[in-house]
Symmetry: C2
Subunit: 179 residues, 2 copies
């Protein structure tokens, strides 16, 4: 951030009065520009005993497998965002179920919130965000080609809970895996 989005003047970084954290501050118009973590919402869509996974068609982690998910938008709920991302990434119509994962991703300044989901029909398809989309059984999950630590965290907890016959939620912190 170099310029004030309100008045266009250059911003500086300093701790505002009464604050504890350095912020981008505009001394021309007085605006303090706060930057906060973003929410990524997603779901694990299920048809019968199979799980819908997507091969990423965009960076980061292009070509690796993930579950449907993306940045939550203003004006929607977490559940609406998770269902929207499933439509946008895999052309799938889902009913959002119970909370599965809350993952802190400190280095990426993100919180990931993933739900269980039921596919309303068996239809799905590729999109400009997904090179491939498929329904897989537990033994077919490509563990060595999973896109993100939170993807693996969600899938492993989903499967363990399903074997145990429970729908728990799991909170964790994901650490940098690459670079």
């Amino acid at each position: 951030m170099n310029f004030c989005s309100n008045c266009g003047s250059p911003v500086i970084v300093r701790v505002p009065d009464g604050d504890f954290v350095p912020r981008h501050v505009c001394d021309a118009c007085g605006t303090i520009h706060y930057r906060n973590p973003k929410i990524v919402v997603g779901c694990v869509p299920i048809w019968e005993d199979r799980i819908l996974i997507c091969k990423r068609g965009i960076e980061p982690r292009l070509g690796f497998w993930t579950i449907c998910g993306g940045f939550m938008e203003n004006g929607e709920t977490l559940e609406e965002g998770a269902a929207r991302e499933a439509r946008e990434e895999a052309q799938v119509d889902v009913e959002i179920g119970s909370l599965l994962v809350v993952a802190n991703i400190r280095h990426a300044e993100q919180v990931h919130v993933f739900f269980r989901a039921r596919m309303r029909t068996p239809e799905f398809g590729v999109t400009h965000e997904s090179l491939d989309v498929k329904l897989v059984t537990e033994s077919e999950i490509p563990w060595s080609d999973i896109a993100f630590p939170s993807t693996e965290f969600a899938l492993r907890h989903f499967l363990a809970d399903r074997r145990a016959g429970v729908e728990a939620h799991h909170i964790g912190e994901m650490h940098r895996r690459f670079g």
Copy 2:
């Protein structure tokens, strides 16, 4: 948002290629400025059978009662943010416990995430953010002077779960109450 925070040129609002939502776009440097919901983190701190509540010393809802909470910062986890807000608002040292509430606040473009918490010592105090801080029993909660719908949602579920001897989580949507 009027100006590009990257290059200082005026921004316009339009749907970028491949997107579905109008964004603030800078045609001078090509930056797309996304705006996403912010996370408010907080907790319900407990000492023995009493709950710590704070009388807000800042707007919005100055003078009304709430639980400790505020905007999550970059570089921290949800749990760290909830503990930090308890220190900043009530000078209290807490151990964050189980997930209590996830509240969608569509009109405010926020998601509130509240945890149960245990006070490590009985010490607490007022701050520049809180006019008053006190430990209350269930019957002493000032229900008619609660600051926000999510505060009431959290307190009511906390109490009901405690009576039932469970620590469940509760996901809900809060609607505009004022104005």
